[in-house]
Amino acid sequence: MTEPILSVTGLGKAFGGVRAVDGVSLEVMPRETVALIGPNGAGKTTFYNMISGRMKPSSGRVRFQGRDITGLPPHAISRLGVSRSFQINNVFTELTARENVEVALTALHGRAFSLFRPASRDRRLLAEADAVLERLGLRPLADTRAGVLSYGDKRLLEIAIVLATRPKLVLLDEPTAGMTPEETRHVTRLIRGLAETGEYTFLITEHDMNVVFDLADRIVVMHRGRLLAQGTPEQIRSDRAVREAYLGEEESA
């Protein structure tokens, strides 16, 4: 029996009296692609925030590769191999696409305190940055300031930054949000390709059910801060509680 790469037990977060996440336990196995779905306000982003170190949990533990990472700062968690993307575009608009990727690579290679060596002369870093961009089809835009990239390209760059940190566990927060159907298909293909390399474990939140059923090995449903159901896509599709949560009541964040 292999060890889970991510093991969350009894994770909870309360804001005042509101329990945004309420005692969630979840295990993710290496190389698995797990989709985390649920209505708006179900607590998915809060859940991500606690795993990635942006928020400290009120209760529960997070273990990554057997190591307790509960409450570690984001940079420490990132260095261990957990990287996340953001729901909104969160790229460095004043930097070029290549520099965006370099920021992540610099941390990876411990060059962040390299004071006098021009970043533009670091051949190895540049080549590596270009390789990451190539993988996402962004190579032709390497020298473009990220601020003027199209919305879809910014979303891709967001993923490029995540991949550049060489994560073992990738948390994608609505990677196709706001994309055109064609861009969505492109990103879906891309993520599937990455998953098939066997280098990554994905935890993905997504509203587009086509994307979810297309990518996920396993689906986890959150509702009102709790785990409602989990199972294979087929099991989830036919689950009554899930249908009720989605169809019975409309709630918003």
Binding site: L95, L115, L141, D143, R145, Y151
Partner: protein, 334 residues
């Protein structure tokens, strides 16, 4: 190619419109020319201008050190004079009591200023935006108060005077008491310091700072300890501000509490915004405009503060990215 339909022609166009290659040579060439003119200045300009340009160079370095944390890292410090003053006092006291060659006093000043920046920075960089600005202002005022009150050490409001400039050190036979010689020393030191600062802004570390200024949280999620980088930038900025102060004390023949006053902290802020925080040389340009305006207006009226204020307000209103920044933006069509 998997570029999809919505891949913007705008993105590609903007990438292609990067600066024309002719400018690549123009910048270093004009810099060399400028340095040559500055080096030759004492041979044709009267002493008055040598004094003015010496002050511009020192204040330019002070402002450029400030811009490492302001323009590059996105932290607005209102206490930068603490390090300038620390450098000035260190040099003045070493020259007075120990009679060291100048170069060692300069290095010692950088060390003491960096140490002070380490302490103040350690307590300040965890805060962001306006809280950081207020805390640095508060620490700056505390350092001022110490210099003002601790009469036995600092001689209070009179400051440290009566020190003599002997030799420069390093076996160089320089008559530092001659303003033209001192000016050239300042020019050389400032040029070297500026080159080092520039190198830092272009390094991987500099890239981290620029990324932090835009989105510190995203940088943290890339695995980078944002606070340590902010602190490092703060200490480097303090170190170079200390060097500027160390050059200023012998130039003014005094190290006084004025150099630590919060209004002294406002000067690099004004100079940087005036010149343009987006370009490395912006603060130097701003310092030149500031000192020249001040000199020029004081020669006409004693109400110089009023007119300087009006001139600064107009310049800031019409040159949003600073005078040099706006001009360069226009030339390079950024």
């Amino acid at each position: 190619m998997n570029r999809n339909a919505s891949a913007p022609s705008a993105s590609v166009a903007a990438g292609a419109a990067a600066r024309p290659s002719g400018w690549r040579l123009a910048v270093p060439l004009s810099l060399v020319l400028l340095l040559a003119v500055l080096a030759a200045l004492p041979s044709f300009a009267p002493y008055f201008y040598i004094f003015v340009v010496t002050e511009i160079l020192i204040m330019g370095l002070f402002a450029a050190s400030f811009n490492l944390i302001f323009g590059y890292t996105g932290m607005l410090s209102f206490g930068h004079a603490a390090f300038f003053g620390m450098g000035a006092y260190t040099t003045a006291m070493l020259l007075l009591h120990v009679e060291l060659p100048l170069v060692w006093a300069l290095l010692a000043s950088m060390a003491t200023a960096a140490l002070l920046a380490l302490v103040i920075g350690f307590l300040s960089v965890r805060l962001s935006e306006v809280y950081f600005a207020m805390l640095t202002l508060a620490f700056g005022m505390m350092v001022y108060a110490v210099a003002h009150q601790w009469r036995s050490l600092t001689n209070g409001s009179d400051g440290i005077t009566g020190f003599l400039l002997r030799d420069f050190g390093l076996g160089l036979d320089l008559q530092l008491a001659d303003p033209a010689v001192y000016y050239r020393v300042v020019l050389a030191v400032v040029a070297i310091a500026a080159a080092v600062l520039y190198l830092i802004t272009r390094s991987s570390f500099g890239l981290m700072l620029r990324a932090i200024s835009e989105n510190p949280e995203r940088v943290a999620f890339c695995g980078i300890d944002v606070r340590r980088h902010r602190l490092a930038a703060f200490v480097i900025a303090g170190l170079f501000a200390g060097l500027a102060g160390a050059l200023f004390a012998p130039f003014n023949r005094v190290a006084s509490p004025d150099m630590l006053h919060w209004s002294q902290s406002a000067e690099p802020v004004l100079m940087t915004i005036l010149g343009g925080a987006g370009y490395f040389l912006g603060p130097f340009f701003g310092a030149a405009m500031f000192v020249l305006l001040e000199t020029w207006i004081t020669s006409y009226t004693e109400h110089w503060m009023l007119f300087l204020g009006i001139a600064l307000a107009l310049l800031v209103m019409f040159f949003r990215r600073g005078v040099l920044g706006t001009l360069l933006d226009r030339m390079l069509r950024r």
